[in-house]
């Protein structure tokens, strides 16, 4: 008996397994709950933006509406089209959901983080790219033209927007000097005060944020980049042939992706769980979770807000936007990030003797100069790229007067 006890609890493996299972379960449960909350925020938020009420009948303020819908989808018949590729059709939602949930492994909930790996940022980008495969599987296996078109669009869009997304993250990785998500968040607490240390409050970080956020919207297939499931053109895109629980899984994965995007953005640019009192031992952890959720949900509200404003892009405009606007900006941002690092941190050893005159590395004077230089570069770059795009980049159609 004692030997058995030793075998299970004396040695580390069982306890480790148990803890991982617990954490995974917690993430999955909280993920579903978050998804319910997000659908509620989206529907009611959009409704109020359009001067109407939205779902407010089930439960207080309609908060239980997603529960009612979950019951509905669970009880619905699970249909696979006769001509569909059965196994791929079945696996596609699994692949999509699995890749999305896997991304949560390194996403920090305030001060709580499931796993802190030293390539966390890279891992997030890599694992969330896997869901592109799932989209293509769903589109192909459905044996439906709408689904296939949606799947192809999804893949093209995801691949295109991954590039500005990753390159804008490169700037942050350069600033932090580490790919660990925890380090990224720690870096934003470092030098001065609290809120102004967030990456978004530097010129470099701001441009990176704008590019990353827009690219992430496209990655998460949020309007105005929801071409893969454009209702008015493609029924529901790659989700056309899915019903019941499979559709619910795709839907869940969609919202989890959106939440992951918000969480990563909050962590990388808005200081994660940082906030007043978030470094107190135990209470601080609770506070940091609250801060983190507030920031993430706030970002999600911005997503909804954008959805309420911007109409869907045409597919060619979408591609133009990624390659001709976001990518140049992200590249310029890498350049100004290196300038920022050189001005604020380097000394005579690295060949920046000029900067020595301004003061010690990290001094206010050097920061001010770095602010000025990178700010000017980024603003000028933004206007130049926008100007080029406005005049000869994206084809604009003018209404020509018809011959009288």
């Amino acid at each position: 008996m004692r030997a058995m006890w030793e075998f299970f609890f004396g040695v580390g493996w069982f306890a480790t397994l148990l803890s991982y299972i617990t954490i995974t379960t917690a993430i999955l449960i909280s993920g579903s709950l978050i998804m319910m909350l997000l659908t509620w925020i989206e529907r009611r938020g959009l409704a109020y933006m359009q001067d109407r009420k939205g779902p407010n009948r089930v439960g207080p303020f309609g908060l239980l509406q997603p529960v009612a819908e979950a019951i509905k989808t669970i009880t619905k018949e699970d249909i696979t089209p006769t001509e569909a590729d059965r196994w791929v059709h079945f696996l596609a939602p699994v692949v999509i959901l699995a890749s999305t949930v896997a991304a949560f492994a390194v996403i920090p909930w305030g001060n709580l983080i499931p796993v802190d790996i030293n390539v966390g940022v890279l891992y997030i980008v890599a694992i969330s790219a896997v869901h592109t495969v799932g989209i293509l599987m769903a589109g192909w296996a459905s044996n439906n033209k709408f689904a296939l078109l949606g799947g192809m669009r999804g893949v093209a869009q995801a691949i295109s927007y991954e590039i500005p997304q990753v390159i804008s993250l490169v700037a942050i990785v350069m600033l932090v000097g580490s790919m660990s998500v925890v380090d990224v968040i720690q870096h934003q607490m470092d030098p001065y005060g609290n809120i102004l240390s967030w990456h978004i409050f530097t010129p470099v970080g701001l441009l990176a944020f704008v590019v990353f956020w827009i690219a992430s919207l496209a990655e998460g297939e949020r309007p105005p980049f929801d071409n893969p499931e454009a209702e008015s053109e493609l029924v529901a895109g790659y989700m056309t042939e899915y019903g019941g629980m499979k559709f619910a899984v795709l839907f869940l994965a969609n919202y989890l992706t959106n939440f992951a995007i918000c969480a990563v953005t909050a962590g990388v640019f808005l200081g994660g769980g940082n906030g007043p009192g978030s470094d107190i031992p135990i209470l601080g952890t609770l506070l940091s979770v609250i801060y983190f959720l507030a920031k993430s949900l706030g970002l999600f509200f911005v997503m909804v807000w954008i959805r309420g404003v911007v109409p869907r892009l045409r597919t060619d405009e979408l591609m133009h936007f990624a390659w001709k606007f976001l990518l140049p900006l992200a590249l310029v941002n890498i350049f100004s990030t290196s300038l920022w690092i050189a001005i604020t941190r380097w000394g005579a050893e690295q060949g920046m003797g000029v900067a020595e005159a301004l003061g010690e590395p990290g001094s206010i004077a050097r920061l001010a100069v770095a602010w000025l230089v990178t700010g000017v570069i980024n603003v000028v770059a933004f206007f130049v790229v926008a100007r080029i795009n406005a005049t000869r980049g994206i084809t604009t159609y003018q209404a020509t007067p018809t011959a009288v």
């Binding site: 109020y48 933006m49 001067d51 109407r52 807000w305 309420g308 404003v309 911007v310 406005a390």
Partner: protein, 358 residues
Amino acid sequence: MTATPEQQTTTQTALRPVGGGGVVVVERKQPRQSYGQGIAKGMGVVIRHFAKSFTTRIDDKSDQVGMFTVEYPEERMELPEAYRNMPILLYDDKTGQELCTSCFQCERICPPKVIHITQAKDPNTGKPVPAAEEFVIEYDSCMSCGLCHEVCPFDAIKMDHFFELSTHDHLSMDRNKAVLDRPISYYQAIAPNLWAAVEANAMKKLQNNIKRRPGNIGVAPHMIGKAQKALPTAGAGGARPAAGARTAAPVAAMGKNMPPEKVERLKSIRAANAAKRGGAVPSAEETLLAASAYTSATASPESGLHTAESDAGLAPSPATTPAPATGPVAAVGQNMAEDKKARLEAIRAAKRAQRGDE
């Protein structure tokens, strides 16, 4: 037409201001928006709507910002007077007399043909009476076009505002007169101006029609017995009829159009009917007599029932409106002896009438 190019050009130029396909250039304050200005502006507009939706409501229809949702089962919008849903029939509040004269205009014009009218007949003469015996509308197929309401010369059929008609019972959507009837006051409540516009004319026509309706014919089913005897007080132009004209009317009508023998015979029939009602079981002789008396009238049990009903309706107030021609009838029902006397008299009268015919 052979027109030179110059002529054509001048014609088109002349047409332009009217809207002949020219390009209209609208001057805007900001002719060109770039660098995300447009999106920023849009974001501002949307968030203003978002914030205002919590605090304000759209009351005036020209308002642009604010919540416009009306949470239906709890809140209801006021329907415009001219809103139309399903047709209903109107009857006068006091007398219970329906405005419908069964002129069949609505039945004819109804595009899906869902209106079915049976005209009422005088049980004594078999002549049509300006009233509807039965009036059925199939609500399930009605398309709410309102043509029946527009065509009705007597303003008897109107469009209701009630729209919560969903039901599990399909057959209940065939609405008969008993269900369709609404008092004028109801319509006045939902469409006061519309009714005020037609009231005088409608009431005048109703008065004229009531004079030609014997008994309870044309009275809304649930108003029978409850209705007042008085004529409806007309609106602006209606002439006030003399008291007691209604009870006397059928007889007067008989006298106008029929030979005296016929009048006599009809009287006897009335008497026979009254006797039938008064006496316990009509004898074979009586039945025979009655049957022979109904030479021209329909002798269907239904119309017979109607007669009894109409008599019952008349019975309560014979004293206030004494009609000399119906004297024997008026006496009926007071006691058995008189009853019997009346019956005998009626039989005699019937025989006399028969003889007269021969």
